[in-house]
């Protein structure tokens, strides 16, 4: 139905395949993190399509990371098992967390998810055994597959690329499936959706759990890369960054969060010389977007596209009008 999206996807994939060979090691590391964040930000959008903005999403990511650390340290599980298992653990925890949260809505949901997320994060600090307390867990293996050591950035990059593409593909299909449409219907008009026979609570829970699942994947990939994680990685500060990405990009299309993350990653790298002043810049950007461009960058793109289309149509109209006159 639309040839532009697949074409764009192919171009991006080719670029992604070539990129690591032309970039420095540092840039490859940045790209790995970028891909992981791509999964994270896209998974967060799933919840927001039902209208449930959560403040515990990075804790779900952390759950995947901690699960990975435990699975690979206790049982020495290989990476192709730790990643999916960590995702399942995050999904299960997500289900437990969302059950009480369904009683709340909007701002209440936001705050309550903050509190429940903190409860989980505090338990990582509290229970030194097995979570390592405030200093977290170290010595998480980077993993290997077919005797290729993932400690090397380029092989791990490709591993993450494959996982990210598969995850995004799944989320893209989900977004366009009847379930994705149901999520949006709930957001547009909960009462109407309910009157048409939709079990609103069930679908809200489904969105949250699916989001947690993919956040778990992102967390697992992150844990393998960093080799060490601690509760601070998943605190509300990180959450605010996630919110910045998604607010800058916008949430009404699948591409919005991806655009937001891409732009903000570039800004982040570009602003590296600013050192500690960087959060100020990011805070300012967040405020700017919320006040002046609440639709995010995707909204800007849509406006530009509409204007171009209108101009083209205007021209066509003028030509046809001219023809009629003559």
């Amino acid at each position: 139905m639309n040839w532009k999206e697949p074409l764009l996807a192919v171009v991006l994939l080719v670029a992604a395949g070539v990129a690591p060979f032309t970039a420095s090691t540092y840039s490859v590391e940045v790209l790995i993190l970028f891909l992981i964040n791509l999964i994270l930000v896209s998974s967060y959008r799933i919840l927001t399509t039902t209208g449930d903005w959560s403040l515990s999403h990075v804790v779900m990511m952390g759950t995947g990371a901690y699960a990975t650390a435990l699975l690979s340290k206790w049982w020495d599980l290989p990476i192709f098992l730790t990643v999916p298992l960590a995702a399942v653990v995050a999904a299960v925890v997500g289900l437990i967390v969302v059950t009480p949260l369904l009683r709340t809505k909007g701002f209440g949901f936001f705050i309550a998810s903050f509190a429940l997320g903190e409860l989980i994060r505090l338990s990582w600090i509290k229970f030194r055994d097995p979570f390592g307390g405030a200093r977290g867990m170290i010595g998480i293996p980077s993993g290997e597959m077919w005797e290729i050591d993932f400690f090397e950035p380029i092989p791990y990059y490709f591993f993450v690329l494959v996982v990210a593409v598969a995850s995004l593909l799944f989320m893209y299909r989900l977004d366009h499936s009847r379930i994705g449409k149901t999520f949006k219907a709930i957001y547009t008009d909960e009462g109407l959706a309910e009157s048409l026979g939709i079990d609103v609570q069930r679908f809200r829970a489904m969105a949250f759990v699916t989001g947690a699942f993919f956040a778990g994947i992102a967390g697992s990939l992150l844990a393998h890369r960093l080799g060490a994680i601690d509760p601070k990685n998943f605190d509300v500060n990180t959450m605010v960054y996630l919110i910045i990405w998604i607010v800058v990009g916008g949430t009404s299309t699948f591409w919005g969060p991806l655009i937001g993350l891409t732009v903000m990653t570039i800004v982040f790298e570009w602003a590296r010389p600013l050192l500690e002043w960087r959060p100020l810049l990011f805070g300012g950007i967040l405020i700017f977007f919320l006040i002046f461009q609440p639709g995010g960058l995707e909204g800007v793109f849509a406006q530009v596209r509409d204007r171009l289309a209108a101009r083209r149509r205007g021209k066509a109209d003028r030509t046809s009008a001219g023809n009629q006159e003559s």
Binding site: K181, T188, L192, S195
Partner: protein, 255 residues
Amino acid sequence: MDILTVRTVTKRFGGLTAVSDVNLDVRDREIHGIIGPNGAGKTTLFNVISGAYAPTSGTVTFNGRTINGKKPHEIAQLGLVRTFQRNAMFPTYSVLENVLLARHLQAKQGLFKAVFASDRKQRAKNLERALEILEFMELIDQKDTLASSMAHGHQRILGIANALAVEPKLIMLDEPVAGMNPTETALVTDHIRRLRDDWGITVVLVEHDMRTVMGTCDRITVLSLGEKLMEGLPGEVASDPRVIEAYLGSDEWDL
């Protein structure tokens, strides 16, 4: 046969009794009006039947099953679908997308099947049915129009079309002609009659406007101040002095 029975339903909010001891019998394939002036308890009764509120006491039976205490979506799945006074459509979608969406929402399938299966057959079936509904509701010419940019009357009809996508046995309409001009009103009431005549759907019409109800309904129940004032044929209701007083107010004021 009665498709919907309401027995001694009372609904209190705190100290306020919004609906008191109301009985209602809706026969299969009739158009039943519930009328009454503002504050008579129509909307509360409507919400009790559709499951938005649980009654304080009393029972509601639909198609032989007790439905009081069930959730709105469960009641909708049983075939009793309500519409709203406003916004009974998804404004940012086209007309066809609206009805398709309403049909998609019906599908009961898991996450993985939804994501992986292509289910062309089901899609084709849904499209066919959606077009059928639009044809029936005479919206087919506007199928690509954005719902929010349609005329007021047509939006209301789209709301009914969305409800039809659920394949209901009974539709409850909440003030379907509120704020409409006579032409729009005639258009909507005409469609309401056809629901019953052509597709055999029972209609419960909650209305403030007596005129609409008179011309459209087979039987009418009148509420006033939370209680059932009377039930009868349109002619009986229109000439009943109690009803006239409830609407126009008494003429005998001692000022």
